[in-house]
Point group: C2
Chain length 211, copies 2
């Protein structure tokens, strides 16, 4: 979880100290309602009510429900699942993947990840503002890291130099997304094997090779 506010001050607030417990309650309420009802069935009013705060308390912190839900979804991504820019510069793709694999398998096999994935994909056309907010604030920064890993691998020769990194990232993310929405969803052990196979096909991971 990425709740990094300090106890007394606020980096992003609009003039009042932020209470981390209030923020956490609002984010949790937003996540629950999004899973239960989707973005179209969720309002700031309902989120405030479930969190036990006033509507203005929510509006003071987030400009709209799309930004709020996007941040709530992002907070479900464990910190050890995303490499730092320094990791990407100093470690090989294989080493980075080896380190994030357990968290990646656990996370993507969880019922919460499945439900959030379905809701996010499901709203992409009927309610595109949520995907736009999530894409801009959360997906693009992670794609930049993946892009850097792929460029290293293209320099090292494990990934074809003429491959389009955007297509490769979609193949990796898209496979996992599609797999967890199929009937008979995988458990964490199956996801571990599955994600290794995906990375291996791209050329980022070599199961039989020592790191």
């Amino acid at each position: 979880m990425a709740g990094r506010s300090t106890p007394l001050t606020t980096a992003r607030g609009r003039g009042r100290p932020r209470d981390p417990q209030t923020d956490a309650a609002i984010l949790r309420a937003a996540l629950e309602l999004f899973i239960e009802r989707g973005v179209e069935g969720t309002s700031i009013e309902q989120i405030a009510k479930r969190a036990g705060v006033g509507k203005l308390t929510v509006y003071r912190r987030w400009s709209g429900k799309e930004e709020l839900i996007a941040q709530a979804v992002e907070q479900t991504v464990p910190a050890d699942l995303v490499p730092s820019p320094e990791d990407v510069e100093t470690m090989t793709p294989h080493e980075i993947i080896e380190r994030i694999l357990p968290a990646a398998a656990e996370t993507t096999a969880s019922p919460e990840f499945r439900a959030l994935t379905a809701r996010m994909m499901g709203s992409a056309v009927s309610h595109p503002s949520l995907m736009a907010a999530y894409w801009k604030h959360h997906i693009l920064p992670r794609r930049d890291l993946a892009m850097a890993m792929l460029r290293h691998a293209q320099q090292n020769g494990t990934v074809s130099p003429d491959a389009d990194p955007d297509v490769l990232i979609d193949m990796m993310a898209g496979a996992v997304t599609w797999r967890v929405l199929q009937p008979d969803p995988p458990d964490a052990a199956e996801m571990l094997r599955y994600i290794k196979a995906v990375y291996h096909q791209i050329g980022l991971y070599h199961p039989t090779k020592a790191p």
Copy 2:
């Protein structure tokens, strides 16, 4: 029951001749309502009303809304997008892909495909019976054909023999699915380039090679 058809009844009917125009109207109504409201917001009653028929007329033909919506979605897939089992036996994967590429690019770049993809993915967790029906009746038969193409390519050496075909199929289908749900969706020309890149990465298609 099914063996007792007379000249006046149909093979699958429950005692009355089927009118192809009625079937088409019901399938079109089911598709429109699914796009507008999702599976949870669509009922047999609403479908019947929009198609201008009675509820019983629908129930006589389909056992439930999931089966009906699954068939309605399937009917949007152009016939020239799916190779026949004979094609798969007699043509190389490269030749098959070369032939289906224009239809694949047109279809996947269409607003209808985007909307249906979002709705289908979106209902996978909250309402899994639709995905289960679509998977069983429509996706699995197509996956079998893709599986046969991949086995040929593994024998020919363009696809790694140790790759898991299920993972490769998910990478291809997942990439396209994820791409069309991103902000700034692609047009048909961009999808043509994109799908070529996906098949090339898997080893089924070689843009620089003559077929």
